[in-house]
Symmetry: C2
Subunit: 131 residues, 2 copies
């Protein structure tokens, strides 16, 4: 888990860390301010902040005793790029499948390019029930 | 790490698992076919596939002895939505900062709405060097 993209996704794999990022998206904050909305100790929050910092998602600026946290954008851009690239591949594959199905079933109605019906074909995954 | 979004990001936090998804984006494959490009044992690949399956990112269809894997889209959509929503928040925050800086520094040149220069302000994070 040493490559930057893996570190980014690993850092995002926690609801508290995502909430911290959402809070920081609204403006810089001190560690104390970030801890406030969570029923967590400062050390627990600091641990989450360290994970975010190691992943390069946030940076800390010292201001005397207080440390301000701010978000940094580059890792999130890489994560978004990967997901978008992946989606492009996957949707192209679905288009091929759709074209194939249309060919073997015969044309039913005029196909509109990029029609959303294409994408729904494979979205019938099992609903997640991870209790 | 039980919520679906955390499971998705955790599953994506590994280069082998991302490569498996990229391969499956090109079409369904058997476990053996998926293992081929990796210098890994079948049990090691199976473990990665289990993580992807638990996160709902792939599904397995039995075809006699062979098991075909295919990707499922819903969790990736949630992950992409979260990143996009977050980026929207964050960019709005940058726009406010930009407007504030323009106000205190005085107008230098006519600002074009949504100019990319705004976004580059905070991208000067430390380059990741996690060797």
């Amino acid at each position: 888990m040493d490559d930057p993209l893996s570190s980014t996704f690993a850092a995002l794999a926690d609801p508290t860390r995502r909430a911290i990022l959402e809070r920081l998206a609204g403006g810089d904050a001190t560690v104390g301010e970030l801890a406030e909305p969570f029923a967590m100790t400062l050390p627990a929050i600091s641990k989450h902040l360290s994970v975010l910092e190691r992943a390069g998602l946030i940076a800390k600026d010292r201001d005397g005793q207080r440390r301000h946290c701010r978000i940094t954008a580059t890792p999130l851009k890489s994560a978004t790029s990967w997901l978008e690239e992946y989606r492009r591949h996957w949707e192209a594959n679905l288009d091929h499948l759709d074209a194939y199905l249309t060919r073997i079933q015969g044309p039913a109605s005029p196909t509109s390019p990029g029609a959303p019906t294409t994408a729904t074909t494979a979205t019938t995954s099992h609903p997640e029930d991870q209790s």
